[in-house]
């Protein structure tokens, strides 16, 4: 099994979720994060003083999937999260040894 982590633009979350659903994904864990990258941050001005905000809001998705689904999931995220503008985010994949469903104790792909 693999853990796919994706960093996307916050306003794309709904699109990505729908695309993943359509691709058959049954579980996702999402968190609010802030990203620093090529996109650069922005500046805000309060009483004429500029504050450089280096970190911009992003959303982070984590999905555990079985090995065979990785390509489809990545494709779905790419298609739904892309705007073509800098800062669209990343997807990375890591190996998972073990997965447990807490409710039933099931392990492995059954637990996905």
């Amino acid at each position: 099994m693999k853990l796919i982590t994706a960093i996307v633009k916050p306003f794309k979350l709904d699109d990505v979720k729908d695309a993943l659903k359509a691709a058959g994904v049954q579980g996702i864990t999402v968190s609010e994060v802030r990203g620093f990258g090529r996109q650069g941050g922005h500046s805000e001005t309060y009483r004429g003083a500029e504050y450089k905000i280096d970190f911009v809001p992003k959303v982070r998705l984590e999905l555990v999937v079985d090995d065979g689904s990785v390509d489809a999931v990545i494709a779905a995220i790419k298609a739904s999260a892309v705007t073509g503008k800098i800062g669209d985010g990343k997807i990375w994949v890591a190996d998972i040894d073990r997965l447990v469903r807490i409710r039933t104790g099931e392990e492995g792909p059954d637990a996905i």
Binding site: T45, R47, G48, A49
Partner: protein, 399 residues
């Protein structure tokens, strides 16, 4: 007794009380989230300690006997002989003035944000009240500055200039923050504070007529117009200069305009409040940047808004004072043909207040620094004052 005047003074006093939490939210929203409770506490503390001191001794020292020029005495110690009997108007007035006494040191809290020990603040407030606020109040209202012929309708000199310059002295002793300034942690909280402040300021200014009469109506109208005009000026400048009109700009401009109209609220009329608002809004919009030039760390711009706004408003009285409101008790303003006399008196009054307040505040802070210390530890500065000084955290998320 006039029940309408009583109703007006009482509700005005309540409005000024409400300004203190308003100020706390205005400042607290601008502060970082790990220090917001310290900011709120500095403000609320003022309205716990000062009322007691005010009726115990403050009123007496700052007012009675009325013909003293420099400092009152002990005649009204614990409001001796002042009762609800008769019309109770003096009791109402003393409560009203007590609100002013409580909010003035609270103004200073914005400057010392993010680094001052609460124990030092807890001592600073009553000492500053007795040594700075009380005498300056006496001088302006009935004392030598008032007798010479300066005007301060609702506390431009006695309150805003006084607290504003004290803020400068305080931060000069206190030193700069170790941590970089941060953007406001909650702009909605800032705007809640702003709304309350403007609302309450109608009591502050129009209540200072101490009657529900034409002068109160004029002060009310002026408070409406100056706040609006200054807010407008501030956001226009921002829009042209920085590219965006901001909420904090609107809020800061409103407050600057309210500060600036305070000293003249009951003595100017016609388009004067609009002009005073526009001028003060524009000047303060630039004045808040002075701290960068001069290197004092006035965290939330007490100097740039209250000192500068108060001073500008107080001096502009020299131009705009309309004699219709005081029948010869003062010189009329330059635009009413009064010559520079009043302007000079305004300058003297503010000069005297500035010198006294700056020197004494500096002294108080130095003594505190040398004794109990005025700064929290560098670690507390990094990790936040709320937890270290108050054992509290402002927000506990999902629970």
């Amino acid at each position: 007794m006039d029940s309408g005047n009583m109703a007006w003074v009482l509700i005005s006093a309540a409005l000024v009380l409400f300004m203190i939490p308003g100020l706390a939210f205005f400042y607290g929203g601008m502060d970082r989230s790990r220090n917001v409770l310290n900011m709120l506490m500095m403000n609320f503390y003022c309205v716990l300690i000062i009322p007691i001191l005010w009726v115990a001794i403050g009123y007496s020292l700052s007012q009675t006997p009325f013909d003293n020029s420099f400092i009152g005495g002990f005649d009204s110690f614990f409001l001796k002989d002042i009762t609800a009997a008769g019309d109770g108007m003096s009791l109402a007035t003393i409560a009203f003035l007590g609100m002013f006494a409580a909010i003035t040191p609270a103004l200073i809290s914005g400057a010392v944000a993010d680094r001052m020990k609460f124990s030092a603040w807890a001592i600073f407030v009553p000492v500053w009240f007795l040594l700075v606020y009380v005498p300056v109040f006496k001088w302006v209202y009935g004392g030598w500055l008032g007798q010479r012929g300066s005007i301060d309708f609702a506390g431009g000199t006695a309150i805003h200039v006084n607290a504003g310059i004290a803020a400068l002295a305080a931060v000069m002793v206190l030193g700069k923050r170790r941590t970089a300034p941060t953007p406001p942690h909650s702009m909605p909280l800032v705007m809640i504070g702003t709304g309350i402040l403007w609302f309450g300021w109608f009591g502050f200014n129009a209540g200072s007529a101490l009657a529900a009469n034409g002068q109160a109506a004029q002060a009310f109208m002026n408070t409406f117009l100056a706040g609006a005009a200054a807010g407008l000026a501030w956001i226009i400048i921002e829009w042209l200069r920085d590219g965006h009109p901001t909420n904090l700009g609107a809020a800061s401009g409103i407050v600057a305009g309210l500060v600036a109209i305070t000293p003249g609220a009951g003595y100017v009329s016609g388009p004067a409040p609009i002009l005073i608002g526009l001028i003060a809004g524009a000047i303060c919009c630039y004045a808040v940047r002075l701290k960068n030039k001069f290197g004092y760390d006035d965290a939330l711009d007490v100097v740039g808004v209250h000192f500068v706004g108060g001073l500008v408003g107080s001096l502009l009285i020299g131009f705009f004072a309309n004699p219709e409101f005081f029948e010869g008790a003062f010189d009329e303003g330059i635009f009413y043909g009064g010559g520079a006399g009043l302007l000079v008196e305004q300058a003297i009054a503010n000069g005297a207040a500035i010198v006294w307040s700056f020197v004494l505040t500096y002294g108080i802070m130095v003594v505190l620094k040398k004794t109990i210390g005025v700064r929290v530890s560098p670690e507390t500065e990094s990790t936040g004052l709320d937890l270290a000084q108050h054992g509290e955290t402002a927000y506990h998320g999902a629970q």
